[in-house]
């Protein structure tokens, strides 16, 4: 099967802090991968890296055939990210938010309405500014705006957090549908039962690396100090 995500010794820094300290990860197309790990393990950073929103500071990586070093711009439109921040406009109404992102993605108004229905957002909320919705309702709207874009890779950061039983069900249906249509899903979740229900595989992330690999023997010795630029001598002598 084609590989949707391929990471080797990936390092990614938030400011000066190496949130990912050498991640090896393979995800096949159509898989639903559950990321688990304690707070601060680097789950959110990993998802942002896979979305092409964070820079790869060391190691190598390919997502959906796009190189994370050089080709992030081609990657981004194929990815949908549901983050802690909703990535929506608080002052716009539910429908306006959805229509805007649907239009940018080339989807129709009917599709955005259908997406809202699938996430069981009550029609009476359609014209309410996002600011006035509850956390759970916003999350559903954010998930709907993801669905409208029909990404090839779904990256869900705590999709179940703050949702009630029916909301979790709706999100899981959405995930299964997407995987059924051939999309790949990576989700990070602490809500073990709800997430395990859909996941086809689980990976544990600890201290910025995938648990199970010995931290003392980095996988790729040649590039094991990836955060640093290549030694200055080589860099300048050919200039």
């Amino acid at each position: 099967m084609e590989s949707a995500v391929w990471l080797r010794d990936a390092v990614c820094c938030r400011g000066r802090f190496p949130a990912l300290a050498g991640v090896d990860l393979d995800v096949a197309e159509g898989e639903i991968l559950l990321l688990r790990g304690p707070n601060g393990a680097g789950k959110t950073t990993l998802l942002r890296l896979l979305a092409g929103l964070a820079t790869l500071d060391g190691g190598r990586g390919t997502v959906l055939g796009c190189d994370l070093g050089s080709d992030r711009r081609a990657l981004r439109p194929q990815v949908g990210l549901l983050g802690h921040d909703l990535m929506l406009y608080e002052d716009l109404t539910v429908v306006e938010n959805l229509r805007f992102f649907a239009a940018l993605a080339g989807a129709s108004d009917a599709e955005s309405r259908a997406a809202l229905e699938r996430l069981e957002v009550a029609p009476r909320l359609a014209d309410v500014p996002l600011r006035r919705l509850s956390a759970g309702q916003r999350k559903r709207v954010a998930a709907a705006s993801l669905a409208v874009r029909r990404p090839r890779l779904w990256l869900l950061d705590e999709p179940h957090a703050g949702l009630d039983e029916s909301g979790r069900g709706a999100v899981n249906r959405l995930v299964r549908d997407a995987a059924g249509r051939g999309a790949t899903v990576v989700l990070a979740s602490h809500e073990a039962p709800a997430a395990a229900e859909v996941a086809t595989r689980t990976v544990h992330l600890v201290g910025g690396i995938v648990a199970g690999r010995s931290p003392d023997s980095p996988a790729a010795p040649a590039s094991s100090s990836p955060a640093a630029a290549p030694p200055p001598i080589e860099q300048v002598s050919d200039a």
């Binding site: 050498g22 100090s225 200055p232 300048v236």
Partner: protein
């Protein structure tokens, strides 16, 4: 290019590296600056004549008299201000195009020195203007006003650089600002020129002073000395930027090692609790 970093270490033992940013090239430039400075002082204060010529009325003399001696600092500083900030814009542009940290550091070093020289230019210009134009600040002069805007623009550039950020993001933002400054300056110059379309400045300093040979020679010498000084301080500043980046990335490597150690600890202590089984213990 390699002059900024010196020659490759070859087979010399690394322990021979002294703890400063000097090298043979900078020592030569440093000595040349000092020798040139002595020569410049001699020419500027002793050999060169004051600016003085017959005035319209018989027997009267006009000119800048000894104040022209300020020009031997002001003019070279102005020339190298424009060169340094031009170099900053150029290096910024190349950075955006080719993406080498080398260019980012060159832009940083030249901007900092350029702003310093710009301050020198403005200050000496004001001190010269007080006796000659009878004012510290002349709004009606294009170059004066343009240079001040230039100063503010690149002072902003340095302000942006001083904000802590991820190195690559900072480099990219700074580069755009560096290029933006170069885009802005011609427009400012044009607009100020129209704004006050008479100008007080020497149309060209070199023409207006009825230049004695020695005055011209001293001006050229001043430019040369300032140029050697510029190169000397640029090399030092560039190497300092290099060191700063090295210290930063050394910190990063340490943090990376620490992070991996943390992962090892958790894996060792939490092997049972963390669970390898699917849907195991809830968090």
């Amino acid at each position: 290019m390699s002059i900024l970093l010196g020659r490759p270490p070859g087979d010399r033992p690394p322990s021979a590296a002294p703890g400063h940013t000097g090298s043979r090239a900078t020592r030569i430039l440093g000595v040349a600056t000092l020798v040139g400075l002595v020569g410049l002082c001699l020419c500027a204060f002793i050999f060169s004549p004051p600016d003085s010529r017959p005035g319209p009325e018989p027997g009267s003399r006009i000119g800048q008299f000894d104040a022209v001696r300020l020009m031997y600092v002001h003019f070279p500083a102005a020339i190298w201000t424009y060169s340094a900030l031009g170099l900053c814009a150029l290096a910024s542009g190349v950075y955006l195009w080719r993406r080498g940290v080398w260019w980012d550091r060159l832009a940083h070093a030249s901007a900092e020195i350029g702003v310093l020289l710009c301050a020198v230019t403005l200050l000496t210009g004001m001190i010269w203007g007080r006796p000659i134009w009878n004012t510290w600040w002349e709004w009606g002069d294009v170059r004066v006003v343009t240079t001040l805007v230039l100063f503010l623009t690149y002072a902003g550039y340095l302000a942006l650089r001083s904000v802590p950020a991820a190195p690559e993001a900072r480099a990219r933002r700074s580069a755009i600002l560096g290029v933006g400054g170069a885009v802005l300056i011609p427009i400012v110059n044009r607009s100020v020129e129209w704004w006050e379309n008479r100008t007080l400045h020497q149309q060209s300093t070199l023409e207006e002073l009825r230049i004695e040979d020695l005055t011209l020679f001293t001006l050229v010498l001043g430019i040369a000395v300032m140029g050697v000084f510029f190169l000397w301080i640029l090399i030092h500043r560039f190497r300092l930027a290099w060191l700063e980046a090295e210290v930063e990335s050394a910190g990063l490597e340490a943090a990376l090692a620490e992070r991996r150690a943390e992962a090892g600890e958790v894996a060792a202590t939490g092997a049972g609790a963390g669970g390898t089984g699917e849907g195991g213990s809830a968090p």
